[in-house]
Assembly symmetry: none
Homo-oligomer: 217 residues x 4
DNA sequence: GATGAATGAGCCTTCATTCAT
DNA sequence: CATGAATGAAGGCTCATTCAT
């Protein structure tokens, strides 16, 4: 199991420190924009000197990217595996919503940041910065788009542009995140899950329920 | 109507200049973060000296706040008037969605900024900065919450926490905005409107149709 | 004479400040390498805030370049005019040596720096930095090379590579500068001028002067 | 001869490592200023850890000083031995010029640095740094001064301040070095040697030849 | 002795804010 | 009122030096 423990030991320490710094950065970033976060603050939060940060990250942008990538990769992995399990598209969609809502708690602090950064999209400067991000973004969108396409073809979902549906679904997830943050709800996901599922299943507006009722009007 | 025309004249000029500066700031802010926008740029865009900005705004934060408030007030006003027109809650909801989606085009540039700033929410620093914002935010939420409460009580909407529904609805609107921005759609609102209405009316997932219909397949 | 005094007034102030800063930088740079000179020091010496430096120069490199250019242009101008006056190549050479030695006093502090920087030549980084400098350098070398070529063709100078002769002549001038600096001589130029002229005229080593003297040995 | 071989062995190792590091520093310094050279680079080039450098040198300045001293000592030794060989002052001068020009090739990379550092001379800070250097410098100057004094007294050299003559001679040598560097000449020394010797022997400017010769034209 | 991760003072540069004109 | 030159507090980053292993 232990292969070349010597080299590994250093790597472990490095990986540990890297994660430590990222964890510190995460708390600093909470509720702030990346631009407003300073390397001094991160260093202080991590309990290391400022110069130390540059032993693990080439620049501030590098650090931010690592932070966002960390979150993104996790979401992406879990989303992908939730879609690989068997089931109808509707089943998968429900499972996916659960998974994504689950991240609202785990990544409570970073979620808004992540959304925000991704939104900014291809900001003119820092070209290389966004490349991997847009790739990751695209992988995520592709994943959902695939699901919607599958569901639409199976006649299970309403016919609509799958990409638009992807964005709308994410909008619902994010909205729950904001709800949680703004309203100070401890676990908004728990409350939102059934509502979102109902919304997806039958809409928000109650249809005239039965011919009988209709006749009654 | 004209009370103390002298003072009024000055006020008019001030208001005019204020709006001019805000308009300039709007173009500068386009696709950038507020932090990345400098007072120099705003002054240049407005065609005034940098010092002049401080005659109309106490600080950069003040200016940004005014910018966002401007957008917010407009949305708020239109949203309110769309809800005052007669109709069932469902009618009002549909009208409201149309109005809000309309802003995606008009305020295309500021929309992401607005969303982002509002999200940041209770940023620890700049206490006064957020006060009026949260107030405006709350007025908006109240407006929608009122509609949802009304609709739920009338049995037209599914029973759920009206505040949560408010956030979810906004999530859909914002998602359309992101869709527009990221996908480069010229008018995403037009495409999204029927999809969102369908979603609100009958959900995304097609229910098993009545036995009759099922047999027909 | 005064054309648009308004615009001119500002320009005058700007030019004045620019020269003030350069003068301050000059004293800071004295006996140091440009790299070792900090913007803080320059600002302090100029009696302005650090940020002010950046109103007149885009960067530290820019400032250094301006400093060196200032010296270089002066030397170049005077050297050129001393060569345009009538006379045989030998006359011109003598005049030129006088002019160049004159700079040892006027530009005592910067002279070694100038030499040093020019020497470093096309350092790998800061490509644009050296471009104009090498151009100026080349103009200077061309000037002297022209003189030497003319003198050689007239049979007044020993036949040798004019460029090499140019470098050797400059070596003598610079050597005098070092002599002045290291030995602390107040005016080394005055002392060195006749020696250099003798060297150029008849060499350092006395030839066996006459058959008579030779016979005397 | 071998006294306390144990201590000697350690000393040998130390001396070896010291020289190894200096050799590495030499390649790093090539064409750069000492300020631009980092300890990391030196350590990497020497194949040792950065901390190791501090086992052999107290500081970066120390290391640079050792580097320059190394060059200086070599030149000094060779210059001294070339002057000890028998011959007239003129013979010795010619031999010395050959020796010094020889260093232009061997120490091509360090030559400009050496000149530059020496020039900087009495830099105000780093008091101890320059002490030994000025000593070495002085030994070199004394050597040449002795030669010139001897030659002047023998009536072989023109009467002039021997120290000034020393600086002028060095100026010619250095000029050749710059010529080599700037013009990219492979072996400028070879080209410059005869020119410099001619210059020393009979000057640059051709005297009016004897009436006889003049008539011959 | 050797290592190299950690340090932190110091550098260049930016930009919100002020104030004399 | 308007101006814009001046300010100086940060911020990101580098690198000589130290020290625990």
């Amino acid at each position: 199991m232990k292969i070349s423990p010597r080299a590994t030991k250093k790597e472990i320490v490095t990986a540990f420190r890297t994660r430590e710094i990222l964890a510190a950065a995460r708390t600093v970033l909470a509720g702030r924009s990346p631009e407003a976060m300073t390397m001094d603050e991160i260093a202080a939060a991590a309990g290391v000197a400022k110069g130390t940060l540059y032993l693990y990250f080439q620049s501030k942008d590098d650090l931010i990217e690592a932070l966002l990538t960390q979150v993104g990769e996790n979401i992406l992995r879990d989303a992908a595996s939730s879609l690989q399990a068997p089931g109808t598209p509707a089943d998968k969609l429900i499972r996916l919503v659960s998974v994504l809502l689950g991240y609202l708690n785990r990544e409570r602090l970073l979620f808004p940041i992540y959304a925000r950064e991704v939104i900014r999209g291809a900001g003119q400067s820092r070209a290389g910065f966004w490349q991997r991000h847009l790739e990751m973004e695209e992988r995520f969108v592709s994943l959902l788009t695939g699901l919607f396409t599958e569901g639409i073809e199976a006649g299970q979902f309403i016919p609509a542009n799958p990409r638009l549906l992807t964005f709308l679904l994410r909008g619902l997830i994010r909205a729950t995140g904001y709800y949680q943050k703004v309203e100070g709800q401890a676990d908004a996901a728990q409350e939102a899950l059934p509502v979102i599922l109902t919304l997806l299943s039958s809409g928000l507006i109650r249809q005239k329920q039965s011919p009988t009722e209709e006749a009654a009007l």
